[in-house]
């Protein structure tokens, strides 16, 4: 088990290195003098010289990359071309907000999606099933930013129940997290339904029934645990889509997270910031996948990795 964990850790590190290399290459390939580009429009000539030195632009490329990595390890992501403040500062302040949104959305999605999927699977081809399935289909087809705006129209403009944006209390969290969660709810509901239906057709379910267990018991004690195993996988994999959606949701609701930071930086051509945020997203995603992968053995006793 430990062996596998270490292997996966190495693989993750490798992936992060790959991302950093990609970013390094991408930013060097921008038109113009990299130092000028990275310094930004507000930079003085001195700043540019400083940056040129810092990046070692007169050095061969691999040394530049080496320096780049070195800085990364020390969490030095450079300075924002817009504010000249360290990039890491903005990221540190805003990352928790994005995490709050993402985690709340995941939580909501499980809370609503899994029971919906179970209900669908235990009463297949009934009106409940069709209602749940069609709602799920709508959920995965809806653009998250449109859903968010529609919620604003209904709940802020017409009903005036909830604020249209910003942070504050729970009432500010409701709409952003729900609109972000929508597609995940739909996805989880569909997966749970499919998974449970698959499990219910297995032999050991017949065995359980032959022992005289009530259908309720069969489902809750025997079927669900087996059905949930692939769901956990899915959640880990879909976390990436959640992060992508967070960028859009944060924009709709003026939520102060790193998603909005990314968009603002792109429009402002603040490349150090863009680089920093993208690295953060990558790191986050890789981390989540690692956790999900390692937690398989906890959920499914058949997986032992030795």
């Amino acid at each position: 088990m430990l062996n596998h964990a270490i292997k996966r850790l190495f693989a993750s590190v490798f992936v992060i290195l790959g991302i950093s290399l990609l970013l390094f290459v991408m930013l060097r390939s921008l038109p113009g003098d990299p130092a000028v580009v990275l310094a930004g429009e507000m930079a003085t000539d001195e700043d540019i010289v400083l940056i040129r030195e810092q990046l070692g632009l007169d050095q061969p490329v691999y040394i530049q990359y080496g320096r780049f990595l070195n800085r990364l390890i020390h969490f030095d992501l450079g300075r924002s071309a817009r504010t000249q403040d360290p990039v890491i500062y903005d990221i540190k302040t805003r990352l928790p907000n994005t995490l709050l949104l993402a985690i709340t959305a995941t939580f909501l999605a499980c809370l609503i999606g899994i029971p919906a999927g179970i209900l669908s699977a235990t009463k297949p081809h009934t009106w409940i099933d069709y209602l749940a399935t069609s709602t799920a289909l709508f959920g995965i087809s809806m653009p998250v930013f449109w859903l968010g705006l529609m919620m604003v129209v209904v709940f802020s403009v017409i009903l005036k129940w909830l604020p249209a944006g910003g942070t504050g209390g729970i009432e500010h969290l409701v709409m952003p997290s729900f609109s972000l969660a929508a597609f995940l709810i739909a996805f989880i509901a569909r997966m749970t339904r499919a998974s449970l239906l698959e499990v219910l057709s297995q032999d050991y379910i017949t065995t359980a029934r032959s022992k005289g267990l009530s259908e309720q018991c069969v489902i809750s004690r025997h079927a669900i645990k087996n059905a949930l195993i692939p769901i956990v996988t899915v959640i880990g994999l879909q976390f990436g889509r959640l992060l992508g959606g967070a960028v859009l949701t944060e924009t709709v609701f003026a939520w102060p997270g790193i998603g909005r930071l990314l968009v603002d930086s792109i429009t402002a051509r603040d490349y150090p910031m863009v680089q920093g945020v993208i690295l953060t997203f990558g790191l986050l995603f890789v981390l989540v996948n690692l956790i999900v992968d390692l937690s398989y053995s906890l959920i499914d006793p058949r997986i032992t990795y030795d």
């Binding site: 790959g18 081809h125 087809s141 653009p143 529609m150 698959e198 960028v247 859009l248 995603f285």
Partner: protein, 289 residues
């Protein structure tokens, strides 16, 4: 607590007939939706002959009326007209993106899965890195480097889609490769290229077709998302996402400006999803309930 007889299911024959009927109908709805979009896109000059980009500053933000069925936007342009012409934009993006994705992704995936070895290893590590990213963020990152606009939007979304195709095709190739008939063909001496073309590709086609249908919807969503953020297709080109983004600030005064383009996106993606699901049900015998 109700007594639950598992043996008395709702899986009656009439229930099952109904289910098949419904799922066929659902795919049909998808087909109808998509066809409508395609027709509208192709017939746009006939349906809405005027230029959708012409400003009319006397008529800004008018709500839906007899003159403009869906109202006017912040520059007085007809929302309906822009949605109609926008279908050309979105559909062309969708087909080009998916086309490029397939052209690159399918052969690489096939080769990677079939030949294995170092080539496969390298490709796999590269796709690992690319897939380590949420696809939308990858597209966003590429936009950051390439800049905004139509071509860059298409490029970024296509590149974001390629690794996914590679993975899918590779996985299918791997499982088909193990089948006995491939062994048989090899034993007889068929050359690799023929094997790939005649045996493996046809069997890999089904999941590719299903995924492609779904990807058309995803491409529209991504392009619209980029447009919404202002970093995709730029105004005055009438892309639905861009329209939504521009209309966002008027949400309190004139919600129709943002609502209808979004509805267009939703229905298009829904159509592709319905069609994709329906195809999956119809073509994949292993897929249950």
């Amino acid at each position: 607590m109700t007594e639950n007889d598992q043996t008395k299911t709702n899986d009656s024959p009439s229930g099952r007939i109904f289910a098949k009927f419904i799922s066929n109908r659902i795919a049909l709805v998808g087909l109808v939706l998509i066809s409508s979009y395609v027709i509208v896109a192709l017939a746009a000059p006939m349906i809405y002959p005027s230029d959708p980009n012409i400003l009319n500053l006397n008529q800004v933000l008018r709500p839906p009326s007899a003159a403009d069925f869906l109202g006017t936007d912040e520059l007085g342009r007809s929302v309906l007209g822009r949605i109609i012409w926008g279908s050309r934009v979105s559909l062309s993006i969708a087909f080009v993106v998916v086309g490029v994705g397939m052209v690159f992704g399918v052969p690489i995936g096939l080769a990677s899965g079939y030949y294995g070895g170092t080539f496969d290893f390298v490709i796999q590590r590269c796709t690992d890195v690319l897939l380590a990213f949420p696809a939308f963020l990858l597209a966003l990152a590429l936009i950051a480097v390439l800049g905004v606009g139509f071509i860059n939007t298409v490029t970024s979304v296509a590149i974001a889609m390629i690794p996914q195709y590679i993975r899918l095709v590779r996985a299918c190739t791997l499982s088909v490769k193990e089948q006995v008939y491939v062994e048989a063909a090899k034993t007889v001496g068929t050359n690799s290229f023929k094997i790939l073309y005649r045996h493996i590709l046809p069997n890999v086609m089904v999941p590719i077709i299903v995924q492609t249908t779904l990807n058309l919807g995803i491409a529209i969503l991504f392009a619209a998302g980029l447009g919404f953020l202002g970093v995709g297709i730029q105004p005055p080109t009438p892309e639905w996402g861009t329209m939504l983004g521009a209309g966002r600030i008027y949400i309190f005064r004139a919600p129709h400006v943002a609502t209808f383009p979004g509805l267009a996106i939703f229905l298009a993606v829904l159509g592709f999803n319905l069609l994709g699901d329906g195809l999956r049900d119809a073509l994949d015998p292993r897929f249950k309930g």
